[in-house]
């Protein structure tokens, strides 16, 4: 799905959620869909990642399913794949930085801001690489931002092995000075 389609599905989802009588809800979106909505990338994404809240209300899940049925999408087109990240704590000031997207009064989509995307993409790049690294490059992080992101990643994975992988990743991808900073 591209930018236009994501917006269309989110708008429809909001309408359905509202018709079902859902209570006021804020849903934070990250990943490729968020990057698309903020116009950082133009690549198509196969799903919309929800990072918070941890527990989605039944009516919202119902609205996801109805939207999937209506447009012929996968039933998990909107999923909580990355929700584990939020369990360990989101970067400080995450919600304040989010861009708000609202189609109906009782549902607000919080689009993860660039700095927080750098945090998540760095974590995913070290872990899995692939398109996450591409996304990270597109975001053009500064050394300062990457240092912040790396320190946040260490709070999620405290193992020595992860620290080694992070340093190795930063060095190999042209961020040697960041690697030396986080080493300390």
């Amino acid at each position: 799905m591209d930018h236009k389609e994501i917006s269309l599905y989110l708008e429809h989802l909001s309408k359905v959620y509202s018709e079902l009588g859902g209570d006021f809800l804020e849903v934070a979106i990250c990943g490729g869909a968020a990057l698309n909505l903020l116009d950082y990338v133009r690549r198509v994404t196969k799903d919309v990642d929800v990072i918070s809240p941890e527990e989605l209300p039944k009516k919202f899940k119902d609205a996801i399913k109805i939207t999937a049925d209506y447009f012929g999408l996968k039933q998990d087109w909107m999923n909580q794949g990355p929700v584990d990240i939020s369990k360990m704590g989101l970067p400080q000031g995450f919600y304040l930085r989010c861009k708000k997207l609202q189609f109906h009064p009782n549902l607000v989509f919080l689009i993860t801001a660039r700095l927080d995307q750098i945090h998540f993409k760095l974590y995913a790049s070290v872990d899995r690489g692939g398109y996450h690294l591409q996304d990270l490059m597109i975001l053009k992080p500064t050394d300062e931002e990457l240092t912040m992101a790396a320190n946040w990643c260490f709070s999620h994975d405290v193992s020595a092995a992860f620290k080694y992988l992070m340093k190795d990743f930063l060095e190999k991808n042209g961020w040697k000075n960041v690697a030396s900073r986080v080493e300390k």
Binding site: K15, V16, E19, L20, K65, I66, D69, Y70, F71, G72
Partner: protein, 335 residues
């Protein structure tokens, strides 16, 4: 929910219930059930739609006054318990049955009343009151037309009568698209009795020579039986095939849930999604009831992108699921 669709569904539910009562002796309108009978399931079905046609409740009342002893309390309770587990939805769905059996004042029904009892208000008098002029046929005619009742009179209510009934139908069935066998697992899942009772009764019937082991077939450790055809001249089944009516009870519950889910909903995508879910679950229930309308249903469920499907088309699919069921049960689909 579009009122027209709601009315159509209710009409068809009533037709299905009437056709079964007509078979069990009611002098009602419409066609007769040509497949197997199931008084316990029929009581539940009547309770569910009785408020839409109070004549059905009157028929149920009169029939129970005459034949309550031919109802399997054990089987009825199993049905009710299973439905409770699977979330019936409205608590008062069986209230008319509770009221009718309470008035019977017969001790063996007390456990059913207790099971049906809930804290909800009994809303019995809502719905259309229609004049009731004629009710039940003569006892002889009813027994003559209903092998299951005849067997229950002869062998007592329970597994013995119902296994012989099932075996007689399945053995004589012209077509057998669901590959129903006279075996313990098939009988257990179709008759909804306790497994050990089924096993014990099958052994007794084998020893009595009513059922013979089919030595050519065996599924795992389970024996397959054939019915001894010369066992009594009255043991001729007129039933075209065996239908698991409990699946139809579940279908009616699904219809009630559908009505509830799309009541007051204006958004087309919600209505379409609910209808599609109903088609998916309903087709599965029809299949599990051994109702062979696969051709009618094959293109109805699992549709992609409901945006491209007209609401009318989905509504007609829902209606044809029920009309197909009615036509199958009444034998119209067989001719």
């Amino acid at each position: 929910m579009p009122q027209e669709l709601k009315n159509r569904l209710t009409e068809m539910e009533l037709d299905i219930v009437w056709c079964h009562w007509n078979r069990l002796g009611a002098m009602g309108y419409g066609r007769k059930n040509q497949c197997s009978t199931d008084p316990e399931a029929l009581l539940l079905l009547t309770a569910m739609v009785g408020s839409e046609d109070l004549r059905l409740v009157e028929i149920m009342k009169e029939w129970l006054e005459r034949y309550e002893s031919l109802v399997s309390i054990e089987r009825l309770k199993r049905y009710i318990k299973e439905l409770r587990v699977g979330d019936v939805g409205r608590g008062d769905v069986f209230c008319s049955l509770q009221e009718v059996v309470s008035k019977l004042g017969i001790k063996r029904w007390e456990s059913v009343v207790r099971l049906l009892k809930n804290d909800g208000v009994i809303i019995f008098s809502m719905g259309r009151k229609r004049d009731l002029q004629k009710k039940l046929e003569s006892h002889d005619k009813i027994i003559q037309n209903n092998l299951q009742l005849f067997l229950r009179l002869m062998f007592g209510v329970g597994t013995r009568a119902d296994i012989i009934y099932y075996a007689t139908i399945v053995f004589d069935q012209e077509k057998n698209p669901f590959n129903l066998l006279i075996s313990a697992p098939n009988i257990s899942s179709s008759l909804h009795y306790n497994n050990s009772s089924i096993h014990r009764t099958l052994c007794d019937l084998e020893q009595a020579g009513v059922l013979l082991e089919d030595t050519r077939k065996k599924v795992g450790k389970n024996k397959i039986y054939i019915s001894k055809t010369d066992f009594g001249s009255k043991m001729v089944s007129r039933d075209k095939c065996y239908v698991d009516w409990f699946g139809i009870v579940k279908l009616f519950i699904l219809i009630e849930q559908l009505k509830e889910q799309i009541r007051d909903i204006r958004d087309e995508s919600i209505i379409k999604s609910r209808l599609n879910d109903f088609l998916r679950a309903g087709s599965e229930l029809i299949n599990r009831s051994y109702i062979d309308i696969k051709n009618t249903l094959s293109e109805q469920a699992f549709r992609p992108a409901l945006k491209r499907i007209g609401l009318n088309e989905l509504e007609s699919s829902v209606v044809s699921l029920l009309s197909g069921t009615h036509e199958f049960i009444t034998g119209k689909a067989w001719s």
